[in-house]
């Protein structure tokens, strides 16, 4: 079987754009021009009569036919939590609450006809006052996104870990800290889309498309459309990037409903602009707090207020509510803390909803802590590396129970840090920095150290730790792999192939990674869990098949199972390696000639007559220790050398170094690729990416023209080194990775810019550090 890359480069890609069914119709959404308005009247009759229009769905139609979008996380009733779930349908009902919110879906023979019919759709709006800023949204008398709530708080709770009172009592100094990340998200080059078709004979709704998590999607779609889950089948097509932005199939439910109602296959392919307007947004958080420290740089405790701007909600259109939990529990990062107290708020505003984006929530606490490290380093005049080394969890302390309740599996943070320092030439950079300052040139050295939790099993939040994997040898000797690990570009197929190839001794060409569908139970590739849950389950399934093969071969070759080898696609016994079986030969004998009659009696009596094993896996540490929802913790140290032009605010990245410890690595090239990509995304977040709404609540940054991501010219060369501290909890010692690069790079670049601007005494409290902002910070600096 050729690899996915070979297939795509041979012109056999199967992205949603490539999928077609006979008699296919198209779904086009119409979105509100207003950020907040009552829908007084919506008139589709004229449009419905136009040529080639099969149906037009509006909110009221959905109220009749569908369930409201389910709350994918529900924290109501949790002690100490204020939690609200809005009642939301896939299309707007009675009110629109963000710019572009879909008010109607046109199902037409062609997208052109849908475009023409859209002109005839009449909607009368009564604009309402809007609120676009979380801090404003918390004030008295502010416009309310959901009137029935009485305020704009969707979530409010306090996280109290350890003993923060004691920490502050023992402190030598208390420092004030503030940090803000502005709104951004992933927006892979391929936007969302799907094709849905209802098959009346089997009463099955089939849907293919850019579904990052087919099993979840099946669950969600069947709930919304009131279908038994067994009658919904979701198949992931080739996906042009996910990053978490395609986890939940909100708008896809309307396409599926349209297929049922019209009896025709219906395809939806989102435009880039639609994705920006109505896609999941992320980041957009503020921290204000205090840090209690000792003079020698030990960080004792942190008190903070955390405000996350959720847009219209964080509960129904995507799986993101636990991101606030992740944000607050990731604050300790790689360090020992005595106490941590965070007042957390999730505030609704008239912007697109909050979703998942690489990092999810784990990123925010870590970035906050790294900003604190820089602050403490400057205030106490301590070397930033030495400061971190002093506060690190030490290698002998693992498994380490963090005050957040998370149990960190393994790690060697000092080794990672020292490796990074070794590759970089910080001393010579510092010397150069001094020289250049005389000439009015400003270079800066930035550092970040990040711990990335992965492999989640959280209760009541659809992150439950479910996974299934199945390995099956076909009668003609190929190895089929069924996994929940959808390929979104992260190398799932390649690494799954390597894992199975190593265990069964077959060549990659003999392994068939089946498209990921809802037939396989599992949460999908989220939160870097692929190398934890999916791979561990796959290992168990592959080993299960191997056991059966070995049992059979042992009887066949009349040798001890210990002497059976699987290598290069052949099975043999050490007694006589020349006499080997290919998998094809083995499968033929096993299944057909002679088949089960020819199996050893023990296998017959144990009903072990199939070369087909399905397995699951659950994190042993989550089982042993209910306070921890993550399984593995990888770590990385980043060092960046930048130059800032003090007159224009332009930042140039001269050097970038990343040292990574993600446990046992299956494929270093795949891991490197994830690191390069994540770092450049983080650089984009640090320097230019921002979703900006104007005063009318319209999203001004609604295309790649104004949502500025790095080009090949903006991306630096990146040096990577690996350390491997295996996880004691996963089958192969692998750890989830892929998110720490986007977390650490944003922190490292901000840190470097701040270091470059230290002659101006600039403290960076906000990202992105755009050219305009940098210039303003310099101009406003007291040192000038």
């Amino acid at each position: 079987m050729i690899s996915r890359e070979q297939r795509i480069l041979s012109g056999k890609g199967r992205f949603i754009d490539d999928l077609e069914l006979p008699n296919m119709a198209y779904c086009v959404f119409i979105g509100s021009p207003y950020a907040h308005a009552k829908i007084k009247r919506i008139e589709v009759n004229k449009a419905q009569k136009k040529a080639g229009i099969l149906a037009i769905l509006i909110g009221e139609d959905l109220v009749k036919r569908t369930e409201p979008l389910p709350a994918l996380s529900d924290f109501s009733g949790r002690p100490g939590w204020l939690w609200r779930t809005p009642r939301i349908y896939p299309l707007a009902v009675e009110k629109v609450r963000f710019h572009g919110e879909p008010v109607a879906a046109i199902i037409a023979e062609t997208p052109s006809l849908a475009l023409e019919a859209a002109e005839a759709v009449e909607v009368e709006y009564e604009p309402l006052p809007l609120v676009l800023n979380a801090v404003e949204a918390m004030q008295e008398g502010t416009p309310l996104v959901y009137e029935e709530w009485g305020d704009n708080i969707q979530l409010q709770t306090v996280f109290n870990f350890g003993d923060v009172g004691k920490a502050f009592q023992e402190a030598d100094r208390i420092l004030k800290v503030s940090w803000r990340e502005n709104r951004t998200s992933g927006f892979p080059l391929e936007a969302r889309g799907c094709l849905a078709a209802y098959e009346p004979m089997t009463e099955t709704l089939n849907t293919w498309g850019s579904y990052q998590c087919p099993f979840r999607a099946q669950h969600y779609i069947s709930h919304v459309l009131r279908l038994p889950q067994t009658n919904v089948r979701v198949v992931a097509s080739d996906i042009g990037g996910g990053f978490g932005n395609k986890i939940n199939p909100w708008k896809y439910t309307v396409v599926c409903l349209a297929a049922i109602l019209t009896g025709r296959p219906v395809k939806w392919q989102e435009s880039a602009r639609e994705f920006f307007l109505t896609g999941p947004h992320q980041r957009d958080v503020r921290w204000e707090g205090e840090v209690a420290i000792k003079n020698d740089g030990r960080i004792l405790g942190i008190k903070a207020r955390f405000i996350q701007d959720l847009g219209v909600e964080i509960s129904n259109r995507d799986y993101a509510a636990p991101s606030i939990v992740a944000a607050c529990s990731s604050v300790p990062n790689a360090y020992r803390l005595q106490g941590l107290r965070i007042e957390a708020y999730g505030i609704v505003t008239n912007k697109s909803f909050y979703g998942a984006y690489r990092g999810f929530g784990k990123d925010k606490g870590a970035k906050f802590m790294e900003r604190i490290m820089d602050l403490v380093s400057k205030e106490c005049n301590l070397n930033p590396a030495a400061l971190r080394l002093k506060n690190f969890i030490q290698p002998h302390e693992f498994p380490y129970k963090q005050i957040s309740g998370l149990v960190y599996d393994s790690g060697n943070y000092p080794a990672v840090m020292h490796a990074a320092l070794k590759v970089a030439e910080v001393d010579s950079w510092r010397k150069k920095q001094e020289e250049l300052r005389e000439k009015g040139q400003y270079i800066g050295i930035g550092m970040a150290f990040v711990v990335e939790p992965a492999g989640i099993a959280a209760p009541n939040a659809r992150f439950s730790g479910l996974v299934q994997a199945r390995v099956r040898i076909t009668p003609d000797g190929l190895v089929e792999v069924y996994s929940d690990r959808t390929e979104i570009g992260q190398g799932a197929e390649k690494t799954n192939t390597l894992v199975v190839s190593q265990i069964l001794g077959v060549k990659a060409e003999e392994i068939v990674i089946k498209p990921v569908t809802s037939d396989v139970i599992g949460m999908g590739p989220i939160s870097s869990r692929g190398a934890v849950y999916s791979v561990s389950a796959l290992v168990r399934a592959a080993k299960g098949v191997k056991d059966i093969v070995v049992k059979y071969a042992s009887a066949f070759f009349q040798d001890d199972p210990k002497n059976i080898r699987l290598e290069d696609g052949r099975i043999y016994s050490l007694k006589n390696p020349e006499n080997s079986l290919s998998f094809r030969e083995l499968a033929d004998r096993f299944y057909f000639r002679p088949g089960p009659r020819g199996l050893p009696k023990e296998m017959q009596l144990n009903h072990e007559t199939l070369l087909d094993v399905s397995a699951s896996w659950y994190s042993p540490i989550s089982a042993e220790n209910p306070t921890t929802s993550y399984t593995t913790f990888s770590s990385s140290a980043d060092l960046a050398l930048v130059e800032v032009d003090s007159e224009t605010g332009v930042t140039k990245i001269w050097k970038y170094i990343h040292v990574h410890d993600a446990g046992k690595i299956i494929s270093p090239e795949i891991v490197d690729g994830q690191i390069y990509g994540g770092i450049v995304q983080g650089i984009g977040e640090a320097l230019s990416e921002e979703l900006i709404y104007n005063e009318r609540g319209e999203l001004s940054t609604d295309s790649y023209t104004d949502f500025v991501i790095p080009t090949a010219v903006d991306a630096p060369d990146i040096v990577i080194r690996h350390l491997e501290t295996p996880s004691p909890y996963t089958e192969l010692g692998t750890k989830g990775m892929g998110e720490s690069p986007i977390i650490s790079s944003k922190a490292a670049i901000i840190s470097a810019i701040e270091d470059a601007l230290s002659p101006f005494r600039v403290r960076i409290l906000e990202a992105p550090a755009t050219r305009e902002r940098i210039r303003r910070w310099i101009r406003n600096s007291p040192a000038r």
Partner: protein
């Protein structure tokens, strides 16, 4: 290309009262392809205001998709095929550039590189390789975005434009061509046919700088083109043109007036550049705010003039001349 555009930076939004429609289809057009210039002029004369001209399409096609350009009549006249408008040639003391010349041809042209390299430099920084292979000089000028990158160098070069209609033609200095964002001097039935650039003399020095939100493939937040003629350390002649800081590409006349005749010194250049920041009238939009644009007008102008007056200064290895380190 004549297009109705709203203000720069706000162009991204459609009419606020209209719905956002997620269709990926292009609106219908009545397409007309004149085979030669005479036929084109006759067509445009007949259609008058009732048509839109297209050459490269790099601005128009996204605008049609978004609905920021109204195409009621749906008449689209394609000038791309007019070979008579696609040329770069030298005629005595002038360079003549056909309006339908691609930006990539402008960038690569031996004539331009030899006689007006600042224009090649600017063209090479517009959009991306793909955009430059499609977009035309005429289109860039007639689209009349205040941020059009070919305008400042052409203004610094004292370019003129040849406008043609069915029954007449006229030559107009480029300084007079732009009337406002998206608005030019072109009358209904008239097209921009040729851009004429007087060939600079040897002792004249030019510089083009632009600043965007990232290091490549970026719209200008501020762009500057300068021409300086220095003899025995006295500024004999100077022109300063800026883009993206006013309703149209503009000349900084007050600054030019101040600097002309002055002896070159850092202090004088700095003061002259500061005057520019008082002359510009930038907007705040999603790309940048007015304060930053004013500030950058000063910074970039100073750097551009400095480049022009410094003998043997080269911009090698640093296209934007905005980063000065070496590692």
């Amino acid at each position: 290309m004549v297009v109705n555009n709203s203000l720069p930076g706000n162009r991204a939004r459609s009419n606020p009262m209209k719905h956002f429609v997620g269709s990926r289809a292009m609106p219908e057009v009545n397409y007309h392809r004149p085979k030669e210039l005479g036929e084109a002029l006759a067509m445009i004369h007949e259609f008058k205001d009732n048509c839109i001209l297209i050459a490269g399409g790099t601005d128009l096609i996204p605008a049609l998709r978004r609905g920021t350009v109204s195409l009621e009549s749906r008449n689209l006249v394609d000038l791309r095929w007019l070979k008579e408008l696609d040329y770069i040639r030298r005629k005595e003391d002038w360079i003549q550039i056909g309006a339908v010349t691609r930006l990539s041809d402008l960038e690569d042209s031996e004539i331009i590189r030899k006689y007006a390299p600042v224009l090649s430099d600017a063209a090479g920084q517009i959009g991306s390789l793909q955009i430059r292979n499609q977009g035309t000089l005429g289109g860039n000028l007639c689209n009349a975005s205040p941020a059009a990158d070919t305008a400042p160098p052409l203004l610094a070069l004292r370019a003129r434009v040849l406008l043609k209609s069915l029954d007449r033609q006229r030559v107009v200095p480029l300084d007079q061509f732009f009337l406002g964002p998206g608005k030019t001097l072109l009358m209904p039935g008239e097209i921009l046919a040729e851009i004429q650039v007087p060939i600079p003399q040897d002792e004249e020095r030019f510089c083009f700088l632009k600043l965007g939100r990232r290091n490549a493939f970026t719209l200008s937040i501020v762009s500057v083109a300068t021409w300086v003629k220095v003899e025995q350390e006295i500024i004999q002649g100077i022109r300063i043109a800026l883009g993206a800081v006013a309703p149209t590409p503009m000349r900084a006349l007050k600054s030019e007036e101040y600097l002309a005749g002055q002896r070159v010194s850092e202090k004088i250049l700095d003061q002259g550049a500061k005057i520019v920041s008082g002359e510009v009238q930038p907007l705040s939009d999603v790309r940048a705010n007015a304060e930053y644009r004013k500030d950058m007008s000063y910074i970039l102008t100073r750097r551009a003039i400095l480049f022009c007056v410094t003998p043997n200064k080269s911009k090698e290895g640093d296209e934007n001349f905005t980063s000065r380190g070496e590692f």
